[in-house]
Each structure stands twice: as structure tokens, then as C-alpha cells.
Symmetry: none
């Protein structure tokens, strides 16, 4: 066992990592006893407390358990939450990370990037520079609407990346995209107000709108944006406060709006006087040469409230994003933000500001696009093979998911359960629909958190299920295997 | 008029700013007509729509008004950010930092600590160690309820400091105390539900409860906790979902609960089945030997939801706190947190965790208590001098404010305005009361953000006002000066 006292990594962490690796590499039997604290400390010539801390960390992580007065024992089966009988809401929690997805699972459920592509070194530089530069001031309350230089950086970011012209006074910094939705909800929705959403859409937005008593109308999504015919019909009958939508690589459908539909939407929002809440977390991730821009870039009259999340294109744990605020709503939104959490961490705003100012952003986006392009191609290739089972999907050439339509005989919850048993996590499409009784034959497969190898393996599990289903149920059609 | 097409700032904003400056610098008379849209557009060689937008913005901001078919006219009396005529809500924004408190002001309005007492070096160490130890993992989504080792540290913190026994599974990490209030509100309040608060109380809590449509009953605060007689009467008539309260150094009154009243409250909460939301941000700051404990330390049946903020006793810009969660509400609170902002920054949770584990906390609290004790003594001494003007206050021996009762002839808003003119910011007591028509003769003077010298100077300004008032209005009583 290698413990190096010259390393920066604390000794107990080194020890923890060593033992964890040994357990993962099957060097222990289930229930095998670890050496006593004292004997291991002596052997490694470290303090008892180092071993205590390492064992504690192993226990926290589920690798060992301790029996008082007896010792510490290896746990190999680990914390096992039976995920095969979850409610829909639990699936969201699972995606959100509260309920565990087994560590060995191939995770097609998560849209989040994985740590190895985080720009840690650059962000660390920014963090340390902020600490040295601002000292205590880094930790005072920032303005409720956000640290002013950061709002300034954001306006440059918007201009450079999307040709969007917004004044820094129109920026409200938020603690991630979900908070933007929450603040809009508080500002604009009273009990019984009508709002429109794309159908299907992001379930976290629906939860926020519902919790405030909104009446929610779903407008079907087509491949070039929402269905304008239905939209017209609804808009004359109901007077929505706003439309909640995603312009590019919509979640879960992966569809993007045509330029024509974008123009139409802006026109309609003026004519019928409703806001458009544009939720953007993926616009930057195109894998072809057709760079997309947000709807907001077209908006010259403050009809669009643009919410930008960096969780998927930067790092989720930073919890900093922003939204644009129409002049008329400025005071209301400030009050809602204040009631929500006073302000977002000033320290992280300062660090992110510096990160943007140093021009690290462009390089980062190039790096992750390269990684994602490869994963995207792998997934599309694998799924193309499955077309013989009558599945269907469009190729979005961007984003982090593929939205798969299964043959209508297949219930996505069945497929989901089968996959869980084989350590593959995916999201049944149902949870994204407003009227979730129909549309049970969709699944969302995301490739943000999986490796190329996992994509190949995971899709095989899906294929096994499809093949079995076909052979069982559909004797007229026996696909070649 | 300067319009520069090469600037990043949109033309209409530039135009707006130009005209606004002209109006503010008295270049227009009240009611003077602005040039017509077309003539101004021609003259500046810009689009008509640019002028339309600039005029619209001016109107929104109260600088002009328009008469249909006639034109746009200058309004000089107009909406004027003159803070001597602010609404109560604006005062909150001012305290919150959105509306400016003049930088030269002596700030008795803010309860926040100032940067020079932040434990920057120790926290920086923790931040860097986390970056080295966890690398990219520091920035993944943490569990919605919080990073597990951090929740563990919190349970140790609670045990050591308040003899409070809470399991790590009962901890929900939050982005500051206000978010705790927001999440409780979402979890427990539906339109029309009745809740009880101390009267006066924290206005940020009232704003959250009101925004959700709660019916709010205020129970008067006495020096040893809320008035139980009124409480009994109310509780029989209304069935409250919860009581929102602060056990130690209540804001704004600075009163602390007697042990007896604490016991009574717990009993009542069981008997009448309501939750007690205990908001704690000052318990740790006692300046005598009577160390206080939260109400939660007495609660063995999950009746008390304990919200802990570190903004006042650590650093506001970190935006990390926690709350305890009754088993029964666990799932609802997780969902509310998820809908609110997915999770609090995992990076900051990890750093704060390490900070606590390294035992820096105790030293920090000792340091700030020393600083605050001195300020507290200075302020009490200065205010003692003012007793000759019939002011009254208790000496809380803790916390960050003094709650001053003025003679009933004095309106705190008048005093507030007079102080603003002399660069002293304080908070008129009115904004803390539910029924704000009465109780206009209180002020809250906080000493967290001022130096000893500023305390002396600032109280002189208050004294000048009191003396003048007495000499003017009260000829029977001419205090010695």
C-alpha cells in the first residue's frame, strides 16, 4: 500500500483511495475484516487518526461497515435501493441524484457532464485569483441582481456568442436554471393563471408551475417547434401569462425551432401580450456547422425572458446562471429573488466572472464539443442498428440526448424496469408529458454521463428487450438477430 | 446628444440615458414637450423604433409621460429615487443592497458582518484542499439534501454546540436561511392557510408567507418570548400550520425566550399539532456567560423545524445553511428543494465541511465575539446617554442590534428621513410589524457593519434629532444638553 507523505493529498484520503481500489478490484471477500486501526497505523507508520478517518470515509461511501467493539468489515453488495418499483416522481429524484443509481449502472438517465471534462485547472486559477484579489470582500452579500462586473461579463458573453444585445441592468444572476423558473413562477403566476408549455417538456418546470397553482396547457412539439395550429386555437380561448419553451435541442424531444417559427412566436407574443420564457441549457452544443442562436437574440421588445443554465455546459456544482429581465418586471423579480435566497453566492459569481474575462470559455466549449460529438456519433450508430425493431428518432446534431419513439406496443415503464434489472438507467418518456396517460412509448437516452463503451453495452441491453418483445408478441415480424 | 453606433450599449439605451441626464440636470421644464419621434430620429440618423423604445423606457422610469396623439412630456416631480419618500418595501431592498445606501453612510441598517472579520485564510485553505482532493468531483451535483459528509459534520456541530441530537438523514442543506423559509413555505402553505408569527418579526419571512397566500396572525413579543395569553386565544380560533419564531435575540426585538416559555411552546405544538419553525442566525453571539441553546435542542418529537443561517456568524457570500426536516416531511421538502434550485453548490458544501472538520469554527466564533462585544458595549453606552430623551431599550447581551423604543410622539419614519439626510442609515421599526399602522415609534440600530467610531458619531445624529424634537414639541421638558 502506497502512502506518500510528500503529496498534497491528505494521508487519510490516500489510504481511503488505496483500500477502496483494493475492494473494487476484488481483493477482499464480502464481510472480510479490515486490519485493526492500530495495527494498520503501525504498519504504515501513520497516526491512528489517519486510519480512523480513512475507515470513516469508506463507511460513508458504503464500502465497509463497522460493528462496535468488533471492527470494520468489507461490504460488497453495498447500499441497495430497490429502484425497480419507483413512482414517476422518484425517477425525477433519481435523476436529480437523491435516490441512488447503482454505481455500476450505465447511466443514460443523466444529462449532466462527468467530472473529467470539467475545466478544473482554469476555474481553480480563477478562484484563487479572486481570493487573493478581493480577500474578505469576496464573501460579502453581492447586489441582489448580481455582482455588477459579472453582469457586465455576461452581456459580453451574450453579444459574442449569440449576437444578443442586453444591458447589464437587465441581467438577474440566479443559482442555476431551476431557480430562474422558480422566480418567474413567483413573479408571474397566481392561483389559476393559465400558462402554455411545450408538450412534452422539462418536468422540473411543470413541478414549479403546478406548485403555484397554474393551469397548464400543453402544446404538441413538432420537429420544427411547437404546433402553431393548436397554439392559435388555445391562445384565443385562454389568455396565457407566458409560454415556457426551449428553442434549441428541446428537452426531451431534441427538436429545434425553425427560424420561421421563431419569428412567428415573437410576433404572437406581441400581438397577444404574453411573455416567452426561453430556457436555454444546450444551445452551445451543436455537432455540425449550423451554430444556433436563442430566440432572445431576435427579441427587440423585451417579450422574451431568457434563462441560461451553465450546469450542462460548464459544471453543475457551481450553481450559477442568469436570466434577462424585462424592464417592467425588474422590481418584482428583484423582490422574488430576495424572498427566494437573498442573492446567489458572491464568491462564485466573482470566480465565474474572472473565468469568462480570462477567455477560458471558448476553449472549454471546443473541448467538450469534441468529447460529446464522439459520444453522439456512437449513440446514433448504435441506435441506427435498432431501427429494424421499428424504433424511430431524429438526429438532432446537438444536445445531450436522443429521444426514441418505440413501437406503440411497448410500454416504456416495462422497458425501464427491465433495464434497471440489468444495471442500465434510462428515462421513460411519460414523465415529460402533461397528459401522461398517453404517449407511453418514448424513452430518453442521454449520453452526457456515459463512455463510448458504456453506450455500446447499454444499447445492447435495450436491444435484448426489444428483440425478446418482438419474438414474443409479434410473430408476424421476426427480426433478424 | 451623443449616440455612438460602435458601442455595445443598444442605441435606444444610449438615447434614453442622454435624455434622462438632460432631465436630471434641469435642462427641461416640467411639462416641456420632447421632440416628435420622427424629427428626433431624423436628426440623430437612427430608426424611429430606437426613439420609440427610448421614450418608452423614460416613461417606465417616470421621467416623461405621453399623451395619446399629442406627444411626450417631461415629468420632473415624477418617480424619483429620492429615498426619503420610499415605500417600506424599498427600505428592505436598500437593506438587501439593491437600492444604494450612500457609501459614506454610517450603516446601522445592516446586520451583516464586515469583511475584515471573515476567516478568509482558513476558508481559503479548505477551498484549495477540496480542489486538490476532489478535483472534478467537487463540481458534480451533490445529493439534493446535501453532500453526505457535510451533513455529518453538521450533526457533530449541533451536538457540540447546542447539545442537539439530529441524524444526518434529517438534515437538508440550503442556500442560506431565506431559502429555508421559502422551502418551508412551499411545503406547508397553501392559499388561505393560517400561520402564526411573532409580532414584530423578520420582514423577509412575511414576504415569503404572503407571496404564497398565507393568512398571517401576529402574536405580540414580550421580553421573555411571545405573549402566551394571546397565543392561546388565537390557537383556539385558528388552526395554524406553523409558528415562525426566533428563540434567541429575536429580530428585531432582541428578546430571548425563557426556558419556561420554550417548554410551554413545545407542549402546545404537540397538543395542537402545529410545527414550530425556528429561525436561528444569532444564538452563538452571546456577550455574557449565559450561553443560549435553540428551542430545537429541547424537541424530542420532530415538532421543531430548525433553520440555521451562517450569514451573520460566518460569511454572507457563502450562501450555505441547513435545516432539520421532520421524517414525515422528508419527501415533500426534497421535492420543494429540487423545484427551488436542484441543490446547493456542492463545491461550497465540501469546503464548508472541511472547514468544520478542521476545527476552525471555535476559534472563529471566539474572534468575532470579541469584536462584537466591544461594539455592543459602545452602542449600549452611547444609547444609555440618550435615556434622558425618554428612549427605552433592553440590553440583550447578545446579537447584533438594539431595539429602541422612542417616545410615542416621535415617528420613526421622520427620524429615519432626518438620519438619511445626515448620512446615517437605520431601520424604522414599522416594517417589522404585521399591522404596521400602529407601533411607529421604534427603530432598530444594528452594530454589525459599523466601527466603534461610527457608532459614536451616528448616535450623535440620532441625539440631535431627539434633542431638537424635545425642544420644539415638549416645552415642559427641556433636557440638559
Amino acid at each position: 500500500m502506497l502512502i506518500d507523505k510528500n503529496l498534497n493529498t491528505p494521508l487519510y484520503i490516500q489510504l481511503y483511495e488505496n483500500i477502496r481500489n483494493l475492494i473494487e478490484e476484488d481483493n477482499f471477500k464480502e464481510g472480510e475484516k479490515l486490519p485493526s486501526i492500530r495495527s494498520l497505523a503501525d504498519k504504515l507508520d501513520v497516526n491512528n487518526i489517519t486510519v480512523v478517518n480513512a475507515y470513516k470515509l469508506l463507511e460513508q461511501e458504503g464500502y465497509v461497515y463497522s460493528i462496535k467493539g468488533s471492527g470494520t468489515y468489507v461490504r460488497k453488495t453495498g447500499y441497495n435501493m430497490d429502484i425497480s418499483y419507483m413512482e414517476d416522481g422518484d425517477i425525477e429524484l433519481m435523476i436529480g441524484g437523491v435516490l441512488p443509481i447503482s454505481k455500476n449502472s450505465i447511466n443514460f438517465a443523466s444529462v449532466s457532464p462527468t467530472p473529467e471534462i470539467f475545466p478544473i485547472e482554469e476555474f481553480k486559477q480563477a478562484l484563487i485569483e479572486v481570493l487573493n484579489r478581493d480577500k474578505g470582500s469576496a464573501f460579502v452579500y453581492p447586489e441582489i441582481n448580481g455582482y455588477e462586473p459579472f453582469r457586465e461579463s455576461i452581456t459580453s458573453f451574450l453579444h459574442e456568442n449569440y449576437n444578443m444585445t442586453v444591458d447589464k441592468e437587465q441581467i438577474q444572476v440566479i443559482s442555476g436554471g431551476q431557480q430562474g423558473i422558480d422566480i418567474i413562477t413567483k413573479t408571474l403566476i397566481s392561483q389559476g393563471d393559465c400558462i402554455f408549455v411545450e408538450n412534452p417538456t422539462y418536468s422540473g418546470a411543470i413541478a414549479a408551475f403546478q406548485s403555484r397553482g397554474a393551469k397548464i396547457m400543453g402544446v404538441p412539439m413538432l420537429e420544427d417547434g411547437l404546433d402553431l395550429d393548436t397554439f392559435y386555437k388555445y391562445i384565443k380561448r385562454y389568455r396565457p401569462k407566458f409560454l415556457y419553451m426551449m428553442t434549441n435541442y428541446q428537452s426531451p424531444t431534441t427538436y429545434s425551432y425553425s427560424e420561421e417559427k421563431k419569428k412567428k412566436l415573437i410576433e404572437l407574443s406581441k400581438k397577444y401580450n404574453f411573455y416567452i420564457i426561453e430556457d436555454d441549457f444546450l444551445t452551445d452544443l451543436n455537432y455540425d456547422n449550423s451554430k444556433k442562436t436563442p430566440l432572445k437574440s431576435m427579441d427587440d421588445l423585451d417579450q422574451v425572458i431568457y434563462i441560461k443554465s451553465f450546469s450542462k455546459i460548464f459544471m453543475p456544482g457551481v450553481r450559477i446562471g442568469f436570466m434577462t429581465v424585462p424592464q417592467k418586471l425588474f422590481k418584482d423579480i428583484i423582490r422574488a429573488k430576495h424572498t427566494t435566497d437573498i442573492s446567489s453566492s458572491g464568491f462564485l459569481q466573482r470566480a465565474f466572472d474572472l473565468y469568462l474575462r480570462k477567455g477560458y470559455w471558448k476553449k472549454h466549449i471546443e473541448t467538450i464539443k469534441k468529447v460529446y460529438t464522439e459520444k453522439y456519433n456512437t449513440m446514433v450508430e448504435e441506435l441506427d442498428r435498432l431501427k429494424k425493431y421499428d424504433i424511430n428518432f431524429i438526429k438532432p446534431n446537438g444536445g445531450l440526448s436522443i429521444w426514441v419513439k418505440l413501437p406503440k406496443e411497448i410500454d416504456s415503464i416495462d422497458l425501464y424496469n427491465e433495464c434497471v434489472e440489468n444495471n442500465v438507467a434510462l428515462v421513460p418518456g411519460k414523465i415529460f408529458f402533461i397528459d401522461d396517460s398517453i404517449y407511453s412509448n418514448y424513452i430518453r437516452l442521454s449520453f452526457g454521463a456515459v463512455s463510448n463503451e458504456e453506450i455500446v453495452q447499454g444499447i445492447k441491453i435495450v436491444e435484448n428487450y426489444l428483440r425478446k418483445k418482438y419474438n414474443d408478441d409479434n410473430n408476424e415480424y421476426l427480426p433478424f438477430v
